[in-house]
């Protein structure tokens, strides 16, 4: 089972569109897929999939109306693709506490599927960060514009700080290192400057943390690409991230802008269903193929229509 988390600092970059399209592509490859709307504050993954029933949803589970998250999985119009909707009354669940978050994570891991895709909300709140950094395949969605790129870097830096902080807490590193992190949080020093300081003051610890970061390997999707330059931009962002943030950001690909996505939303029709022959749909199929690494077993393949 693989858990994906689709996130990225800025709102409106197409996280839900990417999550739903990847889910549809993986399901059409013969995989059992569950999509979860984990944007607890502003869910709308269901609108991309054109599904109706508001209940059951994540909110019902979190408020204790039924004991297992698995009971909230509802079929979609696509075979093998299930959906767990986001909460209807966001007011009560948008800011879940740490323990409810852990409970949700536990139940997500207990779901039976080949792929579980979490559609996260924008921003760098701990809820989004924790789901993103703990996913096996974190997917960062950007668009080729300064606001999205800037927020994307803020998001990645926050993820790194979150990992380092959890790591330090776990190993009870002494006050000095905590001070360093506090310094970067308060003075908004860049991560690279922080590492420079760390290398100077404590090279061994810097080495330990660099190894801790090795486990965090997000993928980058450049959504709404208008031309080849936007694809080049995606590659360049992955390169400079590797160089300066010391994390291995893998450029998954560019998704060509298609203005018909907008119309599909109005019709509540999944784009992948309405325009399977488009370049945009082909881009998602290619990404799914690249990331769907385990071979399709004969049993699963026989279920393919």
């Amino acid at each position: 089972m693989t858990i994906w988390a689709v996130g990225g600092g800025k709102g409106g970059t197409g996280k839900s569109f990417v999550a739903s399209s990847l889910g549809i592509s993986l399901a059409s490859r013969g995989r059992e897929v569950v999509l979860i709307d984990a944007d607890l504050g502003a869910p709308n993954l269901h609108t991309f999939l054109g599904t109706g029933d508001a209940h059951p949803n994540v909110g019902d589970f979190l408020s204790g109306q039924f004991p297992f998250l698995a009971d909230a999985v509802r079929p979609t119009r696509f075979p093998r693709l299930g959906l767990i909707r986001g909460p209807e009354n966001t007011f009560f669940v948008a800011n879940i506490n740490h323990f409810r978050k852990l409970k949700l994570m536990r139940h997500i891991k207990a779901l039976r599927a080949d792929h579980i895709i979490l559609d996260l909300g924008p921003g760098t709140a701990f809820n989004a960060l924790d789901f993103f950094v703990s996913a096996e395949k974190p997917v960062l969605v950007l668009t080729p514009e300064p606001t999205a790129v800037e927020n994307g870097y803020f998001f990645l830096k926050s993820c790194i700080l979150r990992i380092l902080k959890l790591y330090m807490e776990h190993y009870r590193f002494h006050e000095f290192h905590r001070r360093l992190i506090d310094q970067i949080e308060r003075n908004s020093r860049s991560i690279s400057a922080f590492f420079r300081m760390l290398v100077d003051e404590d090279p061994d610890f810097a080495h330990i943390l660099s190894r801790a970061l090795k486990t965090f390997r997000p993928h980058l999707v450049m959504n709404m690409a208008r031309n080849e330059r936007d694809e080049v931009l995606g590659r360049a962002i992955a390169d400079v991230t590797r160089k300066h943030l010391t994390i291995d950001l893998d450029f998954l690909g560019a998704v060509p802008l298609d203005i018909r996505v907008h119309a599909c939303l109005f019709d509540r029709t999944p784009f992948m269903d309405a325009h399977p022959g488009s370049d945009t749909a082909a881009a998602f199929r290619a990404m799914a193929e690249r990331l769907d690494t385990t071979p399709v077993t004969s049993e699963i393949a026989s279920r393919t229509p």
Binding site: S190, S192, H244
Partner: protein, 129 residues
């Protein structure tokens, strides 16, 4: 080419700065230079929000230096010889050269130039540790 974790901008060798291997052609150096300038020029979208302004500037200066050095066959040979030598580990000459390079970079910006730094050092005295 992947950089070593936590390498400071001034500690990256000139090939790392341009993200190229040591065996690439002069044309490839020019291509890499154009790509790098595009990524770190003022207001560049690629590094927008990634680096602090002073870091971005020193990266750009380092890129210029890399192109001046690696884009010229004669200088590139001398740099390779001094930096990597025959043993693959940086030589004493390389350390000297890097120091001079840093001073050159520093002098490119008058406010943080070498002379200015010396002046400030004597005005303030050594940093307390």
């Amino acid at each position: 080419m992947k950089p070593t974790p936590f390498k400071r901008i001034n500690d990256m060798d000139l090939y790392e700065v341009l993200d190229i291997g040591r065996d690439v052609s002069t044309d490839a150096v020019a291509d890499a230079y154009r790509k790098a300038v595009e990524a770190y020029r003022p207001g560049a979208l690629t590094s927008y929000g990634l680096l602090a302004e002073d870091e971005r500037r020193s990266m750009l200066e380092r890129i210029e230096l890399a192109f001046r050095t690696l884009g010229d066959d004669e200088r590139r040979r001398a740099y390779d010889e001094e930096t990597f030598g025959g043993s693959g580990t940086p030589s004493l000459g390389a350390a000297y050269r890097r120091t001079v390079e840093r001073l050159e970079i520093g002098d490119a910006d008058r406010k943080t130039g070498f002379v200015e730094r010396l002046r400030r050092f004597f005005r303030r005295g050594p940093r307390p540790d």
